[in-house]
Amino acid sequence: MANYFNSLPLREQLEQLGKCRFMHLNEFTDDVNALKGKKMVVIGCGAQGLNQGLNLRDSGLDVSYTLRAEAIAQKRQSWKNATENGFTVGTYEELIPTADVVLNLTPDKQHTAVVTAIMPLMKEGACLSYSHGFNIVEEGMQIREDLTVIMVAPKCPGSEVRAEYVRGFGVPTLIAVHENNDPKGEGLELAKAYAVGTGGHKAGVLMSSFIAEVKSDLMGEQTILCGMLQTGSLLCYDKMIEEGIEAGYASKLIQYGWETVTEALKYGGVTNMMDRLSNPAKIKAFDLAEQMKDIMRPLYQKHQDDIMTGHFSATMMADWANDDVELLGWRADTAETAYEKMPAGDVEITEQEYFDNGILMVAMVKAGVELAFETMTSAGIIADSAYYESLHETPLIANTIARKKLYEMNATISDTAEYGCYLYNHACVPLLADFMKDIKSDVIGRGLNLNDMGVDNARLIEVNHALRSHPVEDIGSELRGYMADMKRIV
């Protein structure tokens, strides 16, 4: 199989990368009708598979699960998940031929094997749905011409997909139609109905393309989302220890600090996050972020370039073929880091203290978000996609770190995210080594503790202007505006 993206002419590559549109609620008036009475068969009963299925069934759709014969015979967890929730479970041979829509919700790594196995069993003219476009775009999986291929990707972990639905809401969802495989022209209608069935239309749906999804998703997850937070955690922790800060405090400041500062990011973008700092701290964070952006820019560019050329996916697939030797080795290394081994101390840290004593962390988030956004948009990805895959998702990973720290964070994110995260981390730690030499506890751990909080007006105006005029803030306030319209109560 050849990389699909690379097989396209530049004109088409750019066109596909530039696809992303926020859809309005009134585009979903047909509800789930396009799927009503159709047989939906889910492959994979993990967190996404099970929870999407529960939502779809509660929306009045016909959902069943297909598992490999061994999983059924051995009554594995996936079998239990499906049967205890009252779903019909059957083998590929039993259920796939009856399916009008097959929902492939297995991990990326299994896609080629799964799709190869089920494709011959699928009904003429049925629909195959993905939650991630890696298999199509990077692995170049060729799908039978009579099949419709769509993507519906809730931008949240499976548990949230369910929890929000039960509340009567949903999670932001990206949909796409693989234009090579839309023989009846019904792909969009099916994808929309599917998004309604999971509740996604209430939280906001982005109409994108397989290519834009893959290229932006990979970039976001390996740089700012997972990579930057992992690298930042390790560097900030080690620096605090070096500066004589109590280890329990340092560990807690990191573990919960990302979540706290990115909560401000979620509500009001980089500007609001920076505005939470005192004026002298804000200027300090701004300067640190500018320095880090200069240092890290080539790294972000390399990641984006490797994603675009397919080098990244080729490297990762080679590791898949090699039993994940690299990935599992890195994962084990993470467990051995000083930060990971030090549990959060039993100390009170107020919400504001996370900002005041975490100036460097704020600067890292700012640098990472802006760099990822700038790099994506300069590579032809539309600002809307770049925003969602950088700024919008950062709080989700920060929340995972708050709950699980780094090792578990890596174990729960996708294969692609974890692999990319390690590549980034291995390059970024040495890259920032010199920069970190000049860092003291005033910007990480203790706060500035100034008696004189005065700043130069001209400098403050300059910094505020720079913050507010960054393009990620423009698109951010527009998209958050849409979201707020939909979710009137944030």
């Binding site: 529960l54 929306s59 009045g60 009252g86 039960v166 509340r167 009567g168 809401f169 009137r488």
Partner: protein, 472 residues
């Protein structure tokens, strides 16, 4: 300044008609108390004990000063009756003029200057020579107040002192009482919490002859709770109307609301219950009981659709045979629901008002544009709960009990055909439990809602429930 007044395990009998039981209470110097409670709770009786009324059955009362100025309906009545007894007209056939007001006041007054001042302020100047018996109720009340205030008391016991006073006199009395704060300790009996003057430092709440709560004014949380309780107890408890615009699709009157046939819930090999059949007709009120783990909540969630095994059981709800293309929202629109699990799940940051409005949409949090009418209905509910002033405060900052009350209002707001209350009183304190039970009874008494009530506590019985299902 007097020493503290102490009541220790005091039980007082009032003509065998009423008993104050086991009262433990201390009035420290510098404190001003308000006694409150519902009608018949014994608040006036407790005040009267300080004035020497009742027969002490057991316990001790100490520290009550010799001079107690008393104003109460009883004292007023006594004075009027004493006057009536003086009237010998029926025997002597002489028209008695009765005692003039001046004499009535002078009989106890030791501060004539103050008396003159109060007489003027109360506008009694014209009435001084008039017979006390001929005064109106409000006027006799004023005379009584003047007597109490000018007798140089060491303790003032004022039972509903503001009752029957016009606005001007009310204000004047309030000012005067405020001016003697610190000089004379006061115990006020007040029915209406909103009338609680600022100088009150402590509140005693009575119920059925027992002193149930003693709350310091500075304890804002406890004070608010008491405020709400009193507010609810003293209001008429009208359940706000439904939203006339959001009408549910009509149900077939010949069908039951719920029909479950031979249902089973099991996990792995563990069977929670099996072969359970149950039919809920319109307007039936049910109580569901059973020990922990007997599957009460599971059974309820088969009805609400929250249990995934509802799709593999024979369940008919609100006209839908489950698993035939209906959505969960088509089911939930007919149900109002409260449970501990719901409260756990209601973790979204939203305001008190929005929590109630979310009941119209069966959502946790509010994601729909609501109407002005729905907002007004929510406000009526907040009024009912005594929470209107806090309408915009965040729900998640409320006490557990207040959250529960709001969720109950949320469940009731749309007047659902089926109201499911899964241990609604769990974790509620006494006060809140009473409020909730009163509301449920009100709903049961109406005709539009079938109530399904789950509980463990036999004392939380609901008037109107006559159908029982017990799981084992």
């Amino acid at each position: 300044m007097i020493a503290s007044i102490e009541l220790r395990k005091l039980t007082v009998d009032f003509d065998s008609q009423f008993q104050l039981c086991d009262i433990d209470w201390q009035i420290q110097p510098g404190q001003n108390w308000m006694i409150t409670g519902t009608n018949g709770s014994g608040k006036s009786a407790l005040a009267a004990v300080l004035a020497g009324a009742g027969d002490h059955v057991q316990g001790e009362l100490s520290g009550v000063p010799a001079r107690v100025g008393v104003v109460s309906y009883e004292a007023q009545k006594e004075l009027i009756e004493a006057e009536r007894r003086k009237d010998d007209a029926d025997i002597l056939d002489v028209i008695s003029e009765g005692t003039p007001v001046r004499e009535i006041i002078d009989a106890v007054c030791v501060n004539p200057l103050l008396a003159d001042q109060l007489i003027e302020q109360f506008g009694l100047g014209q009435l001084l020579e008039r017979s006390f018996r001929k005064l109106s109720t409000g006027e006799t009340r004023k005379v009584l107040l003047i007597r109490a205030l000018t007798s140089n008391p060491d303790l003032l016991v004022l039972d509903e002192p503001f009752d029957g006073l016009d606005i001007q006199s009310h204000k004047m009395l309030h000012e005067h009482l405020t001016s003697i704060v610190g000089k004379t300790p006061m115990v006020l009996v007040l029915n209406r919490f909103d009338e609680c003057p600022e100088f009150i430092t402590h509140i005693a709440y009575l119920d059925s002859g027992k002193l149930c709560h003693q709350v310091s004014r500075s304890d804002t949380h406890a004070y608010n709770e008491l405020y709400q309780l009193l507010h609810l107890k003293t209001s008429d408890l009208e359940v706000p109307a439904a939203d006339p615009v959001s009408v549910l699709p009509a149900l077939d009157p010949s069908e039951p609301l719920v029909r479950i046939k031979n249902a089973t819930i099991k996990y792995d090999e563990t069977v929670i219950f099996h072969d359970l059949s149950w039919t809920i007709e319109r307007n039936q009120h049910w109580q569901l009981t059973g020990p922990n783990g007997s599957g009460k909540t599971g059974l309820l969630s088969l009805i609400t659709g929250d249990h995934p095994q509802c799709y593999i059981n024979d369940i008919f709800v609100f006209g839908f045979q489950r698993g035939h293309g209906e959505t969960i929202w088509q089911i939930k629109q007919y149900i109002g629901y409260v449970s501990t699990a719901l409260q756990w799940e209601y973790r979204v940051g939203t305001s008190l008002r929005h929590v109630i409005i979310s009941g119209f949409y069966d959502s946790i949090g509010l994601y729909s544009k609501y109407t002005d009418r729905q907002r007004d209905i929510a406000n009526e509910w907040l009024d009912l709960l005594g929470m209107r002033k806090r309408a915009d405060e965040p729900f998640n900052k409320l006490s557990y009990g207040d959250q529960r009350l709001l969720l109950i209002a949320r469940a009731m707001v749309k007047h659902p055909p089926l109201l499911i209350l899964d241990e609604p009183c769990l974790g509620l304190d006494d006060m809140n439990r009473q409020r909730v039970l009163a509301l449920i009874e009100k709903i049961c008494a109406g005709s539009e809602t079938a109530v399904l009530y789950v509980n463990h506590h036999p004392e939380d019985t609901i008037e109107g429930i006559d159908q029982y299902l017990t799981l084992v």
